[in-house]
Symmetry: C2
DNA sequence: CAGCAATTAATTTGATCATATTCTAGCCCC
DNA sequence: GGGGCTAGAATATGATCAAATTAATTGCTG
């Protein structure tokens, strides 16, 4: 199990549930985290042998994980058998904005029915930690905690299909968001987490949905703006 | 290429673009069609060797296609390494209703900008063929043409991410829809295609979105109702 | 220098085998 | 009849190799 120990060491925010997970699952989780949090860069080619070397596992589990991530939209097939991390165009960002607002607002709404005060405290705690990463200029920490905030919130929605769709969308913009954060710094990262939390405490699902939509829009506008200044 | 000839013969509505597609891609397309149009049954276990035998290809491309379809939500991992065709619960159907209405309405709206009269004629033609399958009691034909109608419409939206999400959702309910159609017959299959077409001809995007949402709701309510009577 | 062809290198794909894991059937006991 | 155990069958997983495909490099010619 030397190779799996290597995976564990390289995992960033990957959930290593236990040692019994097959290698392909562990590779998938590792790669997913790398994409979500921008360790893989937009446009970067991804090869089976390259990942096999860097992750210290064989080619078979890497192949299988890559297949899954292509279906997730997290990696794109180039048409010449090559695979890379997706670039985002502004058209794609507009699509992401629409889809995220529709889906994530609904998830916030649905989560309210299942949230108790301790759960909301947990979200508030995550947001405090997030604020710390912002003041410390910790981009990687910001990305992980921002994702954790949303993922935790939506996990209470009891809506696996919608959560699955949301995760797919996050995988599409993760690498680009990392680039944007690195370029503009953590001070430029607005969010509406406190509004979301306040709406949750008040059991106001409409306000929660609205704050979520605004949170989505602010984050994606950052990427959209960065794309515009890049051309 | 004997094995690939076998795939071709077994393909139902699979798009066999050319002979140059790798086997894993062809298996994926074949399985996708089988799931969409209900040749695979809710709850049915799916094994690598079983598909390898029935499709006449080796295990490697089958494994890779299965991985992709699990990520698509079209097949589900049981947690004991086994894979099966998803069953739908009513909670899932409600999620699907929400997501499909949000996404597919938007796709219809966006399609209007790119549709000319010939395109709309084509949709109308598909709908006429669809009406024929209904009067002939041709369940398989109905499912394929219903999907083709929507897929064609949404392809004009120039919204690859939203279309991808929609396809994912269709893959989740395809097998259950087939069961419902078989149980209640084609006469019970309401749709709003004519309203959609009329709205398209009038360039009325709000009406197109509304008719799409109603179309979605009617179709999914059929599944929901069937689930209720099954328990 | 540019363009083309040939060669080499890099990468993907599929086969196939061994090993690990899960399921099933049969047996025994209470 | 129910529960537990074991052996064998079924299935998934990962390794590893050869063949196919694509990319990159090199050499030659005008």
């Amino acid at each position: 199990m030397n190779q799996l120990d290597l995976i564990k060491n390289k995992a960033t925010a990957a959930q290593m549930n236990n040692e019994k997970q097959p290698a392909h699952e562990q590779v998938y989780q590792t790669l997913k985290a790398q994409i979500l949090f921008g360790d893989l860069v937009p446009g970067q080619p991804v090869t089976i042998q390259g990942l096999s070397d860097s992750l210290g596992v064989g080619m078979t589990p890497v192949r299988e994980a890559i297949r899954r991530l292509i279906s997730d939209g997290a990696l794109v097939f180039q048409g010449n058998r090559r695979v890379s991390v997706p670039l985002l165009s502004d058209v794609h960002v507009q699509e992401l904005i629409f889809a995220r607002k529709a889906i994530e607002s609904e998830l916030s709404k649905r989560a309210i029915a299942n949230l108790n005060e301790a759960n909301i405290d947990r979200l508030e705690q995550l947001d405090k930690q997030l604020d710390r990463t912002i003041s410390e200029g910790d981009v990687g920490g910001y990305l992980r905690l921002n994702h954790a905030f949303h993922e935790t919130l939506y996990s209470f929605a009891d809506a696996p299909i919608l959560s699955d769709l949301a995760e797919r969308l996050w995988l599409r913009f993760g690498p680009s968001l990392r680039v944007v954060c690195g370029r503009f710094g953590t001070q430029s990262l607005p969010d509406r987490h406190k509004d979301i939390i306040s709406a949750l405490r008040n059991r106001d699902s409409e306000k929660a949905a609205l704050a979520t939509a605004q949170d989505v829009e602010q984050g994606m506008d950052l990427i959209s703006g960065a794309l515009a200044t890049r051309t």
